[in-house]
């Protein structure tokens, strides 16, 4: 009716906030790393890298156990978790996510069994019954989906910051998933002297993913305007800068660069560098998720952002 600044209703929030707490941040982190491990398992199989194949398969199994457990725990009625599997709903990212967890976990268990058989933990015969190629393919496909859908899930809401990030948050999720998966596998392999070549490749892929993450984050900052302020200012912004941008991206990238320049693949000095870089990347990945959740909830408190919602 006129151009005066929009009045508010006693500055009361317009939107309701999800009850999602640290458990959901943990799931976004663990689920992402799990999906990334599925992608790495496929790279390993394609290149015949047995070290990475072993670590990524066992890690996939462990994370595929942890992530549904965290998801079930965050529900208001945990005993009804299986209601997620009543229907398939293409319009609901959460429905597709629940199903892709199922279709990731089954091949992940089978491949881990086959790996255990090959490693002599289980009877050798078991490996013969596992269609490893098909399972790896499934794991890679649903793993890739899992790295991406959580970001879509957040953007497909009315929360101003998340909706504004529809081009950024899903890409951030994928990049961070790959970098944390590389970090986890590097941690699993770093004491194995024979895996030095694999460590090197993991570092390189992790650097690619981290730099991508940094680029998307910077673009989100410049593109988002006032809506993204809760993520980049205040306590959230400080933690994001400290733990994700500096600690989780810049320092590991420099450490990896240093190990390439001064270490050389087989030398012993590489291990502490990889160890530190991986730990920092994992911390940064978790903080990124936690801050996205916190900042989203904070942005829901501003009624002016919610009156005219990002189209």
């Amino acid at each position: 009716m006129n151009d005066a600044p929009a009045p508010t209703y006693y500055d009361q929030p317009l939107l309701n906030k999800p009850h999602w707490d640290g458990k959901v941040a943990a799931y976004l982190f663990v689920g992402g790393a799990m999906g990334g491990c599925g992608m790495l398992a496929a790279f390993a199989r394609r290149s015949g890298d047995t070290n990475l194949e072993r670590s990524s398969r066992y890690l996939s199994l462990a994370l595929a156990g942890a992530s549904p457990a965290i998801l079930v725990a965050h529900l208001g009625r945990p005993e009804r978790f299986h209601h997620m599997l009543r229907i398939v709903k293409l319009k609901s990212p959460m429905s597709l996510g629940a199903w892709s967890l199922v279709f990731f976990s089954i091949p992940a268990v089978l491949n881990a069994l086959a790996q255990a058989a090959r490693d002599g933990v289980l009877p050798k015969g078991i490996a013969r019954f596992v269609p490893e190629r098909f399972c790896t393919l499934l794991q890679a496909f649903f793993g890739t989906f899992i790295t991406g859908y959580t970001g879509v899930l957040l953007s497909a809401t009315a929360i101003p910051l998340w909706a504004k990030g529809k081009y950024h948050i899903p890409a951030l999720g994928v990049c961070s998933a790959v970098s944390t998966a590389c970090a986890l596998n590097a941690l699993a392999l770093c004491r194995d002297g024979a895996a030095a070549g694999t460590l090197h490749k993991l570092d390189r892929l992790k650097t690619c993913a981290s730099l991508g993450e940094l680029g998307v984050l910077l673009h989100f900052y410049t593109y988002g305007g006032k809506t993204v302020k809760p993520l980049f200012t205040g306590a959230c912004g400080e933690r994001l800068r400290k733990f994700t941008v500096v600690g989780g991206i810049l320092v590991p990238v420099l450490l990896n660069a240093a190990s390439v320049l001064f270490g050389g693949a087989p030398r012993r000095g590489v291990v502490p560098c990889t160890l530190a870089a991986s730990g920092l990347t994992l911390l940064g990945g978790y903080v990124l998720r936690a801050m996205l959740l916190d900042a989203g909830k904070a942005s829901a408190d501003d009624p002016r952002e919610a009156f005219v919602q990002p189209a």
């Binding site: 508010t8 790495l40 790279f43 997620m84 009543r86 950024h168 890409a171 994928v174 998307v216």
Partner: protein, 280 residues
């Protein structure tokens, strides 16, 4: 033949009978006794256990201290969107569109994932926190056998999403929803949505002739949430009543989201394949 509400805010006197009737019929627990100090509105917002909320807007006239303020009162409720964000988001299928064209949460199906909450562009639905059984209930009005029964426990003990059902149970019995029944001024009108819209347009015209400018909120909308089955007649901007001027159906963001994720994944897959290479 969708059924719905027409809330005519020009008739609301702020008695909150709708809030009370809703709480009582639906056996919803109280939200405590907080005083906001900002207005007569101590409810402040719709929630999982508050399905009607009367907003009180007090506007000073002409900057003059002597002129009486203008009062705007509005009984807010779930909008029962034709394209409902909560319904699209729900991964369990607990949220359905029922035979009356109303958005209904099946309380025995919902598992409390909470995804409908941020998916509502109007801030209506919420997950009911874990309530201690019987606590905050008005046991004088709550029928004892229903309190004991499993049905009530399932509906009210918390952990699931809650919002207006448009009195599904009363409608099935051919009755008018509790809030519309209790409203003493017919500010809340219940009926066939088409007929209500016709009536509402007539009311806008009638008010215009009397020199009152008003508009309908949620009718003939070019909005992604579609027309609302619970719509309103307002005499000021929607923001004044804490309603979004431009609500957006959240699922419209999905295409961009999946596209962005696919692009990032494709680039990283190419990088991974290049770095790890093929078997020699």
């Amino acid at each position: 033949m969708a059924k719905g509400f027409f809330t005519d805010t020009t008739l609301c006197i702020g008695c909150k009978a709708c809030e009370v009737a809703c709480k009582q019929w639906n056996e919803l627990p109280s939200d405590g006794f907080g005083f906001t100090g900002m207005s007569y509105d101590n409810t402040t917002h719709l929630s999982g256990t508050t399905w009607r909320h009367v907003a009180f807007v007090e506007q000073a006239q002409d900057d003059s201290r002597d002129a009486p303020p203008r009062w705007l009162m509005m009984s807010d409720v779930c909008k029962h969107c034709t394209h409902a964000g909560c319904l699209e988001a729900c991964p369990t299928g607990a949220i359905v569109c029922n035979e009356f064209g109303n958005v209904y949460i099946q309380p025995d199906v919902c598992n409390g994932c909470g995804y409908c909450v941020p998916s509502c562009p109007f801030g209506v639905v919420d997950v009911i926190g874990a309530l201690r059984e019987n606590a905050h209930y008005n046991t004088a009005t709550l029928q004892n056998e229903r309190l004991q029964s499993r049905q009530t426990a399932v509906q009210n003990r918390g952990g699931v999403a809650g919002k207006c059902t448009l009195c599904y149970d009363r409608q099935r019995a051919g009755m008018v929803p509790a809030c519309a029944q209790a409203c003493p001024t017919d500010s809340i009108q219940f009926g066939d949505v088409e007929e209500l819209r016709e009536h509402a347009r007539g009311r806008v015209e009638q008010l215009r002739r009397r020199g009152v400018s008003s508009s309908l909120y949620g009718v003939d909308w070019e909005s992604s949430v579609g027309d609302l089955r619970a719509f309103f007649l307002l005499t000021d901007r929607p923001e004044v009543y804490n309603l979004p001027a431009k609500p957006v159906l959240p699922s419209t963001h999905q295409r961009a989201g999946y596209g962005s994720a696919a692009l990032a994944a494709a680039l990283l897959i190419i990088a991974g394949m290049a770095i790890f290479g093929t078997k020699v």
